[in-house]
């Protein structure tokens, strides 16, 4: 009787079958790669047709760009990953954002010494638009945010901090944890914040509030205004009458302008009791 599956011959046969399966596996992947290559070419053609009709729209319309970006994100595609990608090469969407990245870096670098590396998205937008000149396309807040997200990978501390309804853009590698960002959000409302306000609204202990404020001071992201607040009134009287149309050139609200580094810090060394009435305002440039 023939006994199947036993003996050297059977083993050899099994090995052969296994090898054939493996080979087939390789062939399958090869097939799929070839298929992908072909489909890529087809896709590229579609993209070219789309570009010939709508390339202008991408450069001209922030709304269209936004829609485009959202749809890419939904399907799991990053059109800005590489300048060598189809999106950049055919649609030209890359150059728009990569150049914007350069402009953002330059603006942040130029203003760093005044604002410690933190700038509102609005101010960044204004400065970038100024630098782009008359004939360049308009850029939206969304454009800036996307460009900044890409810049993060360069390791120089670019980040986005949500505050109130808008954002702060960080451009220095300073460590800002949740405590810091929460206080920055609080300060953004009036342009300044006091230790007692932090205690009241966030229910923190004085020590915690002070630590956070000192860190922001150290990083050069906040100014200290030690003028005492009149204790009769529960909240500080706003310095500016409502309503305000800011006149360019006037000193920044709620704080001191560009005091020399010596005079700024010498105030801190004054008596401790002043601390709780002191107001911390975010350094901001007066453009």
């Amino acid at each position: 009787m023939h006994r199947r599956g036993v003996g050297a011959g059977a083993i050899a046969r099994r090995k052969l079958t296994e090898a054939k399966y493996k080979e087939r596996g390789t062939v399958l992947a090869e097939d799929q790669l070839a298929q992908m290559s072909k489909q890529l070419e087809t896709f590229r053609t579609h993209l070219q047709a789309f570009a010939s009709k709508h390339k202008q729209e991408i450069r001209r319309s922030p709304e269209f760009r936004l829609q485009f970006q959202d749809m890419c994100a939904t399907i799991g595609v990053d059109p800005l990953a590489s300048g060598k990608g189809f999106w950049a090469e055919v649609l030209g969407v890359g150059d728009f954002y990569y150049e914007l990245g350069v402009q953002i870096i330059e603006v942040c670098l130029a203003l760093r010494h005044r604002n410690g590396g933190l700038i509102t998205l609005e101010e960044l937008q204004q400065q970038v638009l100024k630098g782009r000149g008359k004939f360049a396309q308009d850029v939206s807040a969304d454009d800036l945010l996307r460009a900044i997200k890409k810049l993060k990978v360069l390791g120089s501390g670019f980040g986005i901090i949500p505050v109130g309804g808008t954002f702060l853009v960080q451009s220095v590698p300073a460590e800002l944890n949740m405590d810091h960002t929460v206080v920055l959000q609080l300060a953004e409302k009036k342009g300044f914040v006091t230790v007692s306000e932090i205690r009241d609204s966030l229910k923190w202990e004085t020590e915690r509030a002070k630590q956070v404020l000192e860190h922001l001071l150290k990083e050069g992201m906040a100014w200290l205004d030690p003028s005492p607040v009149i204790p009769v009134v529960p909240s500080p009287i706003p310095v500016i009458p409502i309503p305000v149309i800011p006149v360019p050139g006037a000193p920044a609200e709620g704080g001191h302008g560009l005091a020399g580094s010596q005079s700024r810090y010498s105030r801190c060394s004054q008596s401790h009791s002043r601390y709780s009435h002191s107001r911390y305002s975010r350094s901001r440039s007066t453009c």
Binding site: T74, F86, R112, I245, Y265
Partner: protein, 386 residues
């Protein structure tokens, strides 16, 4: 322009500022007037223009006077504009810069951009008509008159109709663009699905895929902008493209690096390279992926990542540890230095100056004094004078 009135520029009670934009010129219809450069403010009730030099020169028109608005795109030598069509001035209007005008519209030229946001906000305010629910003394009166004004303004209706048609045409173009976009995205989605199934196959095979196939697959993913799901890497997310790029960079950056003391931050490199290219710019990821390959390709530059996460490109010949010795001397001479002061003295960027001082501290040569006055470095006397 005869619809405008002089104003102090202060907002009334109940009136809120919505948006403002500087660098705006006002024109009376097609004619230029003296309102050449100023800040344009939009409130819930009015459109206000104030001269940027002479703040006393401030004029406004109630939003209720606006019939409709349209955008005019920028051209060569011309800024983008918003055209604001207005009802005729009401009889009890406050005095303004012009008694009469032959135009029923004004043009706002945005010399410093900002027209897109402004147009959006202005449209919103005109639609929402918030001035009706937040009455200030002035606004109510003007509203009443604008009803009468409507009956009188027959000529405007014709213009309205033409512009409505034009708007429909533009809308059609836009919706066509969005339709095409949706179709394109469907196809892109198919590519993503296909790449996922290939990635799964590769995972299953676990090592039976050739190097060649991996490289091919990675370049396909790069073309589509799909993140690489296969973790087994030889050169990071790099591809042939990045290898070539790395070699190019080695050529381009040699001289700039020498000029900058042998070291540059990656953001500096990004700006330098892209400004030089002008077109077909590199993405930040392209740059990082290329730089990651520098060392393994035995090129004369390398990527270095400091503890803080700051990334730099150094010449191979550059020895940061040696520079630390020089830094120590500089700090000792001055007694103590902050990163800003050190940067100014040596002529470096503050970012790199800080990293050098931190490295010196790590190596034990410097001590820090961290206070609200800033971070200051001193020579480490504990080491030298113990």
């Amino acid at each position: 322009m005869d619809r405008f009135s002089w104003t102090t520029g202060l907002l009334e009670l109940g009136e809120t500022l919505v948006v403002q934009q500087r660098g705006v010129r006002l024109s009376d219809g097609e004619e230029k007037v003296k309102f050449d450069s100023g800040v344009l403010l939009l409130s819930t009730h009015r459109l206000i223009w104030r001269d940027h030099k002479n703040h006393e020169c401030c004029i406004a028109v109630p939003l209720s006077q606006i019939v409709f608005i349209e955008e005019q795109a920028a051209g060569i030598g011309k800024s983008a504009k918003i055209v604001v069509h207005l009802h005729p001035a009401s009889s009890n209007k406050e005095p303004g810069p012009f008694q009469s005008s032959k135009y029923s519209y004004v043009k706002l030229s945005f010399k410093e951009h900002g027209q897109i946001e402004f147009y959006r906000r202005l449209s919103e305010e005109i639609t929402q008509r918030r001035w009706e629910s937040m009455p200030t003394g002035q606004a109510m009166q003007v509203n009443k008159d604008s009803q009468a004004g409507r009956i009188r303004a027959v000529g405007i209706v014709g213009i309205e109709r033409k512009l409505e048609e034009k708007r429909k045409e533009t809308d059609k173009n836009i919706s066509e663009a969005f339709e095409d976009l949706s179709k394109l995205m469907e196809k892109a989605k198919e590519m993503v699905e296909l790449s996922k199934s290939i990635a799964n196959k590769i995972k299953e095979k676990q090592g039976d895929i050739t190097e060649d196939e991996t490289i091919r697959f990675k370049s396909y993913l790069l073309s589509m902008g799909i993140a690489n799901p296969v973790t087994r890497e030889t050169y990071g997310s790099g591809t042939q493209y990045h290898m070539q790029l790395a070699k190019q960079l080695a050529g381009i950056l040699q001289t700039p690096l020498e000029e900058r003391g042998g070291i540059m931050s990656l953001t500096e490199v990004y700006c330098l390279v892209n400004r030089a290219r002008g077109l077909e710019l590199l993405s930040p990821e392209d740059l990082v992926n290329a730089c990651k390959m520098l060392e393994s390709l035995k090129l004369p530059l390398r990527l270095r990542i400091f503890d803080s996460g700051v990334m730099v490109i150094e010449l191979q010949s550059h020895n940061e540890e040696e520079m630390v010795a020089a830094a120590l001397e500089t700090v000792s001479e001055k007694g103590s230095l902050t990163a800003d002061e050190f940067a100014k003295l040596v002529g470096m960027s503050v970012l790199l100056a800080k990293e050098r001082l931190l490295l010196a501290e790590k190596m034990g040569h410097l001590c820090r004094d961290d206070s609200v006055e800033g971070l200051r470095f001193y020579p480490n006397l504990f080491l030298t004078q113990s």
